[in-house]
């Protein structure tokens, strides 16, 4: 095909553009199923493969159970879930989120799980005016960038400062620790945040941080740093990374004769943690199945009935995040992300598994307590709840 003049070509391109925009708008405004019922699409992003795939698998169970219990309905809307995998890779997360927003035209996204992938997704979601609620991404940067709130972004978990601060308080007051050493991944916002806030709170509470060291994600040999730490004999070794890395560090630390109590954050919460190495260690978590509250006991029972296993924090928080979102869709009774966002922000006294009477602060973070767990004899033991 040859065009007589370049004007014909420009006209064609313009028409094509208008057609694309029109079809895009049409889909966004309509969003109706074939039978005329009202449909709302919800995206779900999680690492279903890769270094933290057990997080993703658990979260998916929580997401599916929440939808199932709601009968796939919220208000007048039938929910159409779209599930995608980000492999815990920031680049991949942007790819799949772009697809969810531009191709699937979702109104809201549940996920992702780690701050590493959720931060880039949140920027994309917020600028495209799509609601996002993460169950477990704890970095403050998920909902706030340079002091500015991303209006469409929420989470169902507490944030890193809370986790580091409560961890330090627990070490000082309950374990009567006086000294600590910290090792964290220099390229991961999650571990940087926990390490910093633990250090601040521990020092402020009268403790002494003897050593603060970093490593890179690809490192596997920590013997040099651990030999140094062994010399200092700290009471606590704070390891705020994910289960596979802390298992590796923990093992080498014990090999080097470090006797300190290991402490960490919710990244430890996985069935793939090396329980034998980490035995006796404490970590801050979002929830414990041993918590006697009736909401918790009902959730554990339902989860067991469906999946024949104990729900972990990732399943629980994703379940809570999904329910918070469904509740907001019901209240707004709309598939318009702006209305859902307003309803979510106005949530009051919501009773979730990971804490009752949940509301959101101005940064989209829920107001709720922190649970402390201990790794003991191949299981997690509920220790206490702290604010």
């Amino acid at each position: 095909m040859r065009f007589k003049s370049k004007w014909a070509l420009i006209l064609m391109v313009l028409m094509l553009g208008v057609a694309l925009v029109a079809s895009g708008c049409g889909q966004k405004a309509g969003q109706q199923g074939a039978s005329g019922e009202k449909v709302i699409k919800i995206g779900f992003v999680a690492p279903l493969t890769g270094d933290v795939k057990t997080f993703g698998e658990s979260a998916k169970k929580g997401f599916n159970l929440a939808l199932e219990q709601a009968g796939n309905k919220a208000g007048d809307y039938t929910i159409q879930p779209v599930i995608v995998d980000d492999r815990n890779d920031a680049t991949e997360a942007v790819n799949v989120a772009t697809k969810l927003i531009n191709e699937n035209k979702v109104s809201a996204i549940v996920g992702s799980l780690t701050s590493l992938t959720t931060i880039p997704i949140s920027e994309l979601a917020n600028s495209n005016k799509v609601v996002e609620i993460s169950g477990t991404a704890t970095s403050p940067k998920v909902t706030v960038e340079n002091g500015k709130r991303k209006d469409y972004i929420f989470r169902a978990c507490f944030i890193d400062p809370t986790q580091g601060t409560v961890g330090a308080k627990f070490a000082l007051n309950k374990l009567h620790a006086k000294t600590a050493a910290i090792l964290y991944d220099q390229g991961n916002d999650y571990t940087i945040g926990l390490a910093k806030n633990f250090e601040d709170a521990f020092t402020k509470g009268g403790g002494k941080v003897l050593f603060k060291g970093t490593y890179a994600k690809t490192d596997v040999d920590f013997s040099a740093v651990l030999t140094n730490i062994a010399q200092m004999k700290p009471d606590i070794l704070y390891l705020p990374d994910y289960y596979q890395k802390v298992s590796l560090i923990g093992k080498q630390a014990r090999d080097k004769g470090i006797k300190a109590t290991f402490m960490g954050g919710d990244g430890w919460d996985s069935s793939d943690l090396d329980y034998k190495t980490m035995d006796g260690g404490y970590f801050t978590a979002h929830y414990s199945g041993q918590d006697p509250r009736p909401e918790v006991q009902k959730w554990v029972k339902d989860f067991k009935a469906k999946y024949n296993s104990e729900p972990d924090s990732f399943a629980t928080l994703t379940y809570d995040a999904t329910n918070l979102l469904l509740n907001a869709i019901k209240t707004a009774n709309s598939s318009d992300p702006t209305k859902i966002k307003d309803a979510l922000q106005a949530t009051k006294g919501f009773s979730a598994v990971s804490g009752s009477d949940i509301s959101f602060d101005q940064d989209g973070n829920p107001i709720k307590p922190v649970t402390i767990l201990q790794v003991k004899d191949g299981k997690y033991k509920f220790i206490s709840i702290m604010k």
């Binding site: 493969t49 596997v220 090999d255 080097k256």
Partner: protein
């Protein structure tokens, strides 16, 4: 003082680990003048096959190691036949790019669900760990095992290359393919065998690495492969004792940097030293400058 000694032992362990991989790298380079970027990934395959051997199929450790070495030797020969042989007389850059392709292929193919899968696996230690204190310096049986294996490998490679007919063939091929053919050397078989031996050593390294740092995943070969390559270049690529010397220097520099300066600087300083050495001695520590053939 004991503290410094302990750090030096840590550095030795890391250095010997790099040496395990660097030996195969440098041997293949010495014979075919090809930087086999897939070496680190063969090392990964070896670690996985070894892990399956002793942790999943329940083989005794020596058998699991031999099994991994045999499978990787075959893999090495197949890689050579498919990816390198057709490009042997093409420009060097083509073979280099082919090597990169093989490396990426092995990584991503292994990540597939029905191969090894993309997940991290915790490796249960197949031997009981024993701690000794020699003059107050703690040392483990795993560290000793790694050191012994490297020294035996070094000795075997030296014997193979300088004391056997195959080694003689390899040295001939390294100098000139056509001249080697005229002398009755089967060039194809010799190169194939070189890859088989190099890959078997990579597998041995992989299994020991998985025992020392008990966690494996399909991308585990990249960083050690890169470090071992650096070590081989540092010592003088193609020269077998050079690989061990280069690896020991790398291990020592990294550990001492992490221990006494900062763990953030460890890779930066290690690679800065590489650049420095190459500026002063472009052929590496043991390398001799070759006279150009006219």
């Amino acid at each position: 003082m004991e503290h410094v000694m302990e750090q030096i032992i840590n550095g030795l362990q890391l250095g010997f680990m790099y040496a395990l991989i660097a030996l195969g790298y440098t041997m293949v380079y010495g014979v075919v003048q090809l930087i086999n970027f897939a070496h680190g990934d063969v090392f990964m395959v070896g670690a996985f096959v070894g892990y399956f051997g002793f942790a999943v199929w329940g083989l005794p450790l020596p058998l699991a190691i031999v099994n991994a070495m045999v499978i990787c030797a075959i893999l090495g020969m197949v890689i050579e036949k498919i990816a390198y042989r057709p490009l042997r007389y093409a420009p060097k850059i083509a073979a280099l790019i082919s090597a990169l392709g093989v490396s990426l292929f092995l990584e991503y193919f292994s990540s597939l669900k029905f191969v090894f899968g993309p997940d991290y696996r915790v490796v249960p230690r197949p031997i009981h760990e024993v701690h000794w204190h020699i003059l107050g310096i703690p040392i483990t049986n795993i560290q000793v095992m790694v050191i012994v294996v490297v020294l035996v490998m070094l000795l075997l490679l030296q014997l193979l290359i300088y004391r056997t007919r195959i080694g003689m063939a390899m040295r001939t091929v390294a100098v000139d393919h056509n001249a080697a053919r005229l002398m009755g050397v089967n060039v194809d078989n010799t190169i194939s065998l070189t890859f088989a031996i190099g890959s078997a050593f990579a597998a041995l390294g992989g299994v020991l690495y998985a025992i020392a740092y008990p966690q494996i995943q399909p991308f585990m070969g990249i960083m050690p492969g890169l470090k071992a390559f650096t070590a081989a270049v540092l010592g003088g690529i193609g020269i077998i004792p050079g690989a061990v010397i280069g690896a020991l220097i790398m291990g020592q520099v990294e550990t001492l940097t992490a221990a006494f300066i900062s763990s953030q600087l460890r890779d930066a300083i290690a690679f800065a030293i590489l650049i420095l050495v190459l500026l002063i001695r472009p052929t590496g520590i043991l390398g001799r400058s070759q006279t150009e053939k006219v």
